[in-house]
Amino acid sequence: MAYTPQDYKSELKPIWCPGCGDYGVVQAIYRALATIGRPPHEIAFVSGIGCSSRIPGYTTAYGFNSVHGRALPIAQGIKIARPELLVLVAGGDGDGFSIGGGHVAHAIRRNVDLTYIVMDNQVYGLTKGQLSPTSPRGFRTVSSPEGSLEDPVNPLMYVLGYGGRFVAQGTPADLSGLTQLVVEGLRYPGFAFINVQSPCVTYGSPDAQLKAHKSSMKNLASLGHDEGNRLRAMELAAEYGRSLYTGIFYRDPEPPPAYEALVAERRRALTDPGASRERVLEKFALR
């Protein structure tokens, strides 16, 4: 049976601000899911808290709009428990790289087969416009009326530094490009990270809006970038905040088995067909 994007659109009406970049992201997700074609009930979609984290509610799937910063641990639990599911994770820049920042490295080094989409708007949308970890130095917000004093996080560089094997960036300003990235991420057998420059029209800076993206974005493929070159990917990633590259920064051409595959292998190796749960206690008998 073939699916259409419409099949993944839930009955909840988005309450994002008119013009919010996240509308484009959810469209790209609907389309990508239709391309992949897994039935909605075989998809788990996990998020944290934030404007962006509302996205599972707008998608027909098993959704989990959890708590701020904890989408990745929950998603890993789901995927390990049911490797047959397609597991998507999404959230904001604050959710992923501020409060949730401690989980990213471990999800990557475990290499659980998840696709993690960060809607990076360089601001805290839901709490009404404070500094986010990706806000540029000097950015003025309600929580930094005189401008921030710290360097921003570079999500692309971090993930590459963690050994990420699929690292991409998109923008809803290029919806079909973004859709394709999500498709590639979902197809990648292992942890895939997609940073989406998804403008906040209400609190975001004017030069981070869709219009600006349209004029500034540079497609990596058309620049001739070699997806298999990690060091070059890092050099390009270092330009985060200055250049808006879209496409795949890095894709490990030889993906190792994902974590849940190793788990399955270990289970196979250790499973003792005679082992019954009821007899576990007998270990304690003095012999």
Binding site: E42, G63, F64, S66, P73, I74, Q76, G77
Partner: protein, 594 residues
Amino acid sequence: MTTDLVIGMAGAGGDGVIAAGEALMTAAARSGYRAMMTKSYGPQIRGGESSFHLRIATGEIFNAGTMLDIAVALNWDDFLRFGAELPVGGRTTVVHDGAEGAALPLEGVSPADAVAAPIAEMARTSAGTEKAKNTVVLGLLAGWLGLSADSLLAGVRKRFARKSPEVLAGNERAFAAGLAFAQAHPLRTDRRLCETAPPPSPRWLVDGNEMCAAAALVAGCEFFGGYPITPSSEIMHFLGREIWRHGGTVLQAEDEIAGIGAVIGASFAGRKAMTATSGPGMSLKSEMLGLATIAEVPLVCVNVQRGGPSTGLPTKSEQSDLFQAAFSAHGDAVRPVLAPISVADTCRITIEAFNIAEQFQTPVILLSDADIAQRKEVIDPIDPRAFTIVDRRLPNERELEHYARFQITESGVSPISYPGLEGGNFLASGIEHNERGAPTASGEVHAQMNEKRIRKLAPLKARRDLFSIEGDRDAPIGLVSWGSVAGVASEATAVARREGIQMKLLVPRLLYPISEEVYEDFFASVRAGLVIEQSHQGQLFRIIRMFVDVPRGLESLARSGSNPITVHDVLDRVRQMVVAFQRQRVPQEEPTLG
């Protein structure tokens, strides 16, 4: 001859004190004795002092005892570091190394009962190394206690089988030397154990953490996510060895939040799941426990309690996390809290924890404590088929037609689907939601959902099997105790009743929510009593008061961790209460004038 003996021993890190205790225990168990052993260490990872406190008896044992009948000090410095954990008194036989001189650096013991044995010297002479000191002590105790030397020697042989033949032979000689010394220097006869018959089938030797992990497997646990922390880590270690054989997974997460996060994910995905930690980890998990409550995700969260607050006393037992278990996370919520009272009880209560989690779709907190978790017990075999295993209530076909994950049913329990089930998809969330899972800010829906989430637990309070009562039904004196300390209360009750005091004891395994009815029934006859627990604040005492009008004479007997509460302490207070009654009775019996 005696039916009940308490032995304590302390030495330096390399002395093999714990190994000696385990050898004694095993030999005793094989011969048909019951036994219970607690261990205690200094703060060092290696080379610090260590000790055991072992009780051996012919009948059932409810606690590891207090005052030592026999105290073995391999050296005084290390022995004295354990203070109240190895209490000695007028009736204690003190065995120490003669090389440290004859003087006893202890108050209140009877020097006449002391034995200055040349332990180190015997080890050197027989085995050529002081490392064999513990084997010498085994020989000594085999002789004095009348434990089967064959059985002990078999243990020694097993232990050193993998070492060189010289080491093995040396230890055999060390054992013989100890035995000979004991035979040449007999102790008072009441240090000798009465004989027992070997049990019909082999007894089990197990500690609380192992039991908890094994029982989780029996209950159907398929996923464990956790982070190491003393004194709970062995639960993860056990499952890390075993769960794979049963198709499950253990994940050592990056922290406690991720550990319970993965557990929530696995349970959302339809698997029975558990995490285990201790105080600091519990504090970190609060937010996730709240999420599991509102998203109605079943899970078991074990807290092996240690001394708090904060890092506190990581290696000592305490029961001071009950307030937290009941009230940690923000918002209106009730999370069931269960506590086992012994290693054997840990089996049933762990399975109950899973059953309750699954039946009511709620996180359940299993409050163990370092004492139960780390102590070894000789127990009767448990038949796992005696337990009912409860699974979650899946939606039926009709319900899947217009699936409402959080349907407000009569019981408050809603049908729960899992990813992969067609028609069952929904949005789980920490945000308040309506019956179909849609986020809402409606006060009305919020009130209904709060009510549903709390109402669904009501049947729990009627579960009388989650309480045990001992003693005289209509006694005017009533004790309440929980967790590892309940065994002390239990023994005290038995002793007091033998003294002719009318009393009874209530031991809840369900600590929260409070079952008003059970307590009210129990308190109906009670005029005075004690709630006995190992904490500074007397936390259960306070929580009972929240919901139950307690008898005026109900008091708290509570003490910070690592300050043992003894049978003696309980009896003291009980006897005072009896005296107070007698005084009160006099005026009552005076003729009323006027």
